[in-house]
Structures are given as structure tokens and as C-alpha cells.
Symmetry: C2
Subunit: 423 residues, 2 copies
């Protein structure tokens, strides 16, 4: 047996213990995990310093280095986030439906943990604690496989969290960190279809494609966000501009940022000059079709097909004038990534058609794409944003780490009572 299989089997066995914890015990455990992170602050920050030294030696700078960096305040934020997970409602044991059938049996749907979740992610060490907390909250075991850049940080964070498990009398294998970062080991992990119930890859497109390619276990992808804003002819231009600037310029590097602006022909002459000036003032570079180029009133590069399919994750926006709502819908169906789409409109019928015609995970009417986030949508915390149209679609919270099963209670009902006449 491979080491990774043994590690996964230990996690599965340990997950039988976490699955049966009461809500109170889980929440106490999560608070103890937060305490352990605070108690280990020095060793975690020292481990992070080693990761940062190695990253700098490899020439990593800028946003990547920033994501990897921990300090006292960020670590406090991580511990606080774990405490917030403790305060969320417990999805396990929730009865979502209950019905008495004509024969008198009561049929309930009840949430149970998924089992063992493999979380595969890149450089942010906070994911180690965030993902562990949400998985434990939902009664699961979790196997964490972070990036090599954050290995020392992740190891120190996991050590603190695992100590809290042991001190609560639980098997620490319920939270398992993979320190052998060989790609073949990840492949071996992703093949353990009798042990791992779900793999969640979170990171760049390359990582997600690698996981999807090699997995024999179920995968929920957190894939790219090519998010659209369609400004309908009936839109309030000031409202549409607010959504545009918030969506593009408030934090362009995240997956719920806008990448493409579609403008109805009838409002283009009014809207685009204002939009162009406001975007330019915020340093946004534009890739525009011929119709919008002439109206934007600022320098813009002509857009090609690749621009409309791109997740820029930067201060860049593709722009197109469309003839009508149908053309906007066609554009989004063709180029979109099923993540988040927004319509700015004053017309309820058009809003309804936009919502109905598009099957993206999140569709917004007159609200910013930046609300496409577990916290903003009321999930409390998020383990990722699923663009897989199965199980969970859109932001995933603790509930998405459970599944409904059936619990039936009767008084001896059978399907074929005639069979029993003789006894």
C-alpha cells in the first residue's frame, strides 16, 4: 500500500469520529483550533519566514509573494475566521424535508457529512485553516495538499490544528496534510475512489485541469470567472456605472470581477462616453468592438475573440455593443464560464428573461458581481465557488460539504403483507 493510501484510509477512519460529533463539540473544537493558531503564532510566523526566504530566492515578487505572506495581523485574521466558522449553523443533522406517506412511514431527508474531502490548492496559507475549519464543521475528514511555496507555513498551521484535535480526544488524522508534494503522489491521491468522497481544486487553470485530468474521485471545479455586465436599454445609467466600476475596479484580481461589458445599442451613445471616462480615471485598459470604440471617447484596443473569452484578472475590460437582450444572452452563452453574470435594467420582463435564459451559477439583477461570494450571499464562509453544475453550483459553504440522505421511520410496514399471511 502506498503511504498516501494509508494516510487517506486513516483520515477516512477518523472521519467516522468527526461525523458523529455534536454541534457543541464541533464548535468547541473549532474555537480550540483558533486558540492553537494564536498559541503557535511565533512558530507559524517563523515557518512562514522560511517560505518567504525561499520564494524570494526563487525570484517570486509582487502579488504572489503578498499572498504567501503572513504577519501577526493576518494570522489573527485566520484564527478569527475559524472562530466565525464555529458560530455558523451546523448543517449536519438538518432535516430538510419530512413527509408521511400514505402507508404511514415517515420519510425524512437529513444532511450527513460527505466523508473525506481532498482540498488541493496553491500559495495562500490561510486556505489551510479555512478549508480545515469548514470541513470539520460539516463533520468531514480533510486531506490538505497545498503548494510547495507555502509548505512550511502549512505544516506549522496544520500542526496547531491537529494538536487541538488530539487535545479534544479525537484522532488527528481527521485533518491530514500532505507534505510529499510530488505530482505522482497527488495523482495517487486522486485515484482513491473508494476513500476520497470529493476533491476540490482551488487555484489556477493549470492546477484545476491537472486535477480534473487525473481524478477518479468526484471533483468540483472552482474554475475561471469570465463575468459579464449587460447594460440594458432601460438601465439607469448611474446605477449601471456603479455596478461597472465596482465590478471591474474594486479588486480586479478576483474571480467575481467583471471581464466584459455588453451595452445595448439604444443606450450606448449615452452610457459609453461616461463609462470610458470613469474607467480611464481608474486606469482600466479597454478592448472594444468597432461600435463601442467610437463611443468610448478614450484610447482602446480593438477586441478579438480571445479578449471576450479571457479572464484578465487585471485592470482590463472587454467591451461590446449588442443589438438587444438576445444578442447579449448569445454572447454570454458563447464566451461565459458559468460563473456570474449581471444585468442592469429598469425592465422587469428583461430581467426575468436574462435570469431564465442563462444558467450561470450566479445571476444578478442590478447588483454587483462582487457579491458572488459565500460571505456576501449569506453562507458565512466559503470553501470555493463551484462552476461544476452538480452537487453545488456557485459559492460553497459548510452545507455544500454535506449531502441529504433518507431516514425512514415506521411501525413494521412492508411492501407485500400478503407474503406473510402464513406466519
Amino acid at each position: 500500500m502506498t503511504d498516501i493510501k494509508q494516510q487517506a484510509m486513516q483520515c477516512r477512519d477518523a472521519a467516522q469520529a468527526t461525523a458523529q460529533l455534536s454541534t457543541g463539540d464541533k464548535d468547541a473544537l473549532l474555537r480550540a483550533m483558533a486558540d492553537a493558531l494564536e498559541a503557535d503564532a511565533d512558530s507559524i510566523l517563523q515557518a512562514n519566514a522560511r517560505d518567504l526566504d525561499a520564494a524570494r530566492a526563487k525570484g517570486i515578487t509582487g502579488a504572489l509573494l503578498d499572498r504567501l505572506t503572513l504577519d501577526g495581523k493576518r494570522l489573527q485574521g485566520i484564527a478569527d475566521a475559524v472562530r466565525e466558522v464555529a458560530q455558523l449553523p451546523d448543517p449536519v443533522g438538518q432535516v430538510t424535508r419530512s413527509e408521511v406517506r400514505p402507508n404511514g412511514i415517515r420519510v425524512e431527508r437529513v444532511r450527513v457529512p460527505l466523508g473525506v474531502i481532498a482540498m488541493i490548492y496553491e500559495a495562500r496559507p490561510n486556505v489551510t485553516a479555512d478549508a480545515a475549519a469548514l470541513c470539520i464543521k460539516a463533520g468531514n475528514g480533510v486531506i490538505l495538499r497545498g503548494g510547495s511555496e507555502a509548505l512550511h507555513s502549512n505544516t506549522a498551521i496544520a500542526a496547531a490544528l491537529r494538536r487541538a484535535l488530539r487535545e479534544a480526544g479525537l484522532p488527528d488524522a481527521a485533518l491530514s496534510l500532505i507534505t510529499d508534494l510530488d505530482r505522482q503522489t497527488m495523482i495517487d491521491l486522486l485515484q482513491l475512489s473508494d476513500i476520497i468522497d470529493l476533491a476540490i481544486p482551488r487555484g489556477g487553470e493549470g492546477l484545476i485541469r491537472f486535477v480534473a485530468e487525473h481524478a477518479r474521485v468526484p471533483v468540483i471545479k472552482h474554475y475561471k470567472g469570465v463575468c459579464h455586465l449587460f447594460v440594458d436599454a432601460s438601465a439607469d445609467p448611474a446605477l449601471a456605472l456603479r455596478l461597472l466600476l465596482d465590478g471591474k475596479a474594486s479588486r480586479p484580481g478576483v474571480c467575481n470581477a467583471l471581464e466584459t461589458l455588453l451595452v445595448h445599442r439604444d443606450i450606448a451613445a449615452e452610457f459609453l462616453p461616461r463609462a470610458g471616462a470613469a474607467l480611464k480615471a481608474r486606469g482600466v485598459e479597454l478592448r472594444a468592438d468597432a461600435a463601442s470604440l467610437s463611443l468610448l471617447g478614450v484610447d482602446a484596443r480593438p477586441a478579438d475573440d480571445d479578449d471576450y473569452a479571457a479572464e484578465f484578472l487585471d485592470l482590463i475590460l472587454a467591451v461590446r455593443v449588442v443589438d438587444d437582450l438576445d444578442q447579449a444572452i448569445d454572447h454570454i452563452r458563447r464566451y461565459g464560464s458559468d460563473h456570474t453574470e449581471v444585468i442592469a435594467t429598469g425592465d422587469d420582463a428583461n430581467a426575468a428573461r436574462f435570469v431564465h435564459a442563462l444558467r450561470s451559477a450566479v445571476v444578478m439583477v442590478n447588483a454587483s458581481s462582487r457579491f458572488s461570494d459565500g460571505g456576501e450571499l449569506g453562507l458565512g464562509a466559503e470553501i470555493g465557488i463551484s462552476t461544476t453544475r452538480l452537487h453545488s453550483y456557485g459559492p460553497m459553504g459548510a452545507e455544500s460539504l454535506t449531502v441529504e440522505r433518507f431516514v425512514v421511520r415506521g411501525e413494521g410496514q412492508v411492501r407485500h403483507p400478503d407474503l406473510l399471511a402464513a406466519d
Copy 2:
């Protein structure tokens, strides 16, 4: 591009039309499909006769031949089943939750179709109509890949159903039958991860393993049912006997039939002699551990590990005496298949522990395992019984062919209003 990819892409495009049908239009379509099956009765039965001739020539007999056989009455049953699907509630568009966030945005969870479902099954031609009806009811496109034994029957049934689609002005590619039954073609289909949203294999263990092995698309397995009945010390023996006989002898060849009986030591001397006699009277062969062998009072073979792991699908039952509830739970965790487990008990605390400790898809208290069925549990119709602990766990109805997404309505809310001060 392969033919199968082109066929799948046409189904995906057609599924955009079925996704947007109103409930009334879908239900009218389903009734028209049932009418078309009746209108084509002669050609369907002729096609079935060809399949039966070929099957007999290959030496197929017994239950397999029976499953393949259609006659006027069975075909009427298939058409009636499609009409029943028309009468079920429409899951698409259902708002499962609605909440206004502190900033005033309204967040709804709304069910949408999955998209394209690939149904891969074996010899029963009724699955062609059943699966198509449920997939269409839930607004999906469906690609059907049945077994070679039923190819002519399936082709005739699909032709009738597709004609109903065309006559309703819809693209018949929404219901697509694969007639090239080469295994490589199935592999090609299972690799189309950008087109197929879900594959549901339904059939023997070999088929399911083949699909799971080759799929790059999400798979929900309808795997074996090693279902247990645990007779607790506090059980009413007459009630327990009813559950035992219904579970084992009413229809032993189905996945929700009982395969193993576990009896608490304290009730074994009272229960097992009665159980042994009643099972023997119904021709059930027993595989028993030493403790139960001496109490059953009838001939029984000693049970080994393989017997406890077996899905007999026949009049065979494994039997074991256990020391207590914990040993019963350990046994089920070790040998079970996560399908359906039953406890017969008079003790509410033991019932609660049994339900809580086991994570099988369906857990029953004092009710027959044979209720583990979509119709019996209130789903109306069933496309399979998932033993995959993701998305849908247990019997799957139309709702399991949809997923919840987010619809958000606001009045211009943004996350960073400060960003907009200048405009």
C-alpha cells in the same frame, strides 16, 4: 471531430431549448411522448421481437430474457409511466430559499437543469422511456446508451419519443440514442467533460466499474445494495419477522432486498428458530455464523467473509449473531455498500444511535428495506439509486437532475461605494 462528440454537442444545444420550456409545455410534451409510444406499439413490438430472436439465438434465457421482453401490456405500462412523470411537480424554477441580506439584496436559490445527462444502462428497454421522461421533465438533454441486446427495441422507442419532440417544435437532438455500441465510442462519450454534465451508469457491477474507470465527466453510481436488517434485543419479534420476509423473499433480485440478517444475542434464541422456519418455507438458503447455525433449526452453510460482502440478488441470506448494537454497526460499516440498512427495535435511543452511526443512503427504523425506492419514498419516479455520497444520495427523482443556483436582485448595491465618490 468524432461523430459522438458532434451528437453530444447537438444534444447540448438542444438542451438550451428544453431548459427554458414552461412546466405546461414540458408536461404536454411528455403526454405526447406517451401517445407516440402507443401509436408506435406495433413497430416497437416488432423491433423487440427481433431483439428477442437474437437473444434466444445467443442462448439468453430466464430472468435476462424476461427483462428484455415487451408485450402490449408492458408497453402500455411504459407509456403510463411517462404520463405519470408529466404529473409530477416541476423541479425547475423552484425557489428553495430566499433571504434579504443586510445591504438589501435579495438572494434566492433556484433550481436549474443540470444540462446534458448521459444514461448508460443494460438490457431493460423500459429504461429508455423512463430515463428520457425524467431528464426532459427536469429540463435536460439526454444521451441514452443502452445495451446491445435491446438495440432494436431502444431504437424504436427513441424514434417515437423523438417524433414527439419534433411535433412540439423542439430539436429532437434533446433526446439522443447512441446506436454505435462500440466500447471505444462509450469511452469517447465519457471523456466529453465540456459537454456532458453527468453520467449515470445503471446495471451490473462490471458496467459501473467500466464507466467510473473511463469517465472524465461526473458520475453518479448506482452500485450494489448489500442491505442489512439488525434485529435489536428490544424488537417485536413478529415485526422483525415481517421486515425480514418482505426484505428477503418478496423480490430477492432487486438492489433493496436484504442480504444479511444481524440478530442481537439476547433475542437470538427466541427469534432465529422462527426466522429459520419461515425462511426455509420460502426457499431461502442460509449462510450462518456458528452462533446462529445452532439456533436456526434448519440446514445452513457456514458463512465466510465473502458471504457477508455479497449482494446475492437471490434467495440466499447471510446471518450473524452480534453481541450488541455497536457490533452490528461495525459489521455494517465493514461489509455494507452504503445503500439501505434497517433496524427493528422497540428502543428509541438505539434507533437514534443506529441512524446516527451509519451514513448509508437510506436508513430505516421498523420499516422494510423494500421501501428504498423513489416511488415508495415519494419521489414519484426514479432514475436510479445513488450510492455516491455527492449531489444525490439514495433514490434519485426529477429533482436530482437539477442543481440549485443563485439569483440575486438589488437596486444598484455595490461592495465598495467609496470607489464611486468621484463620478
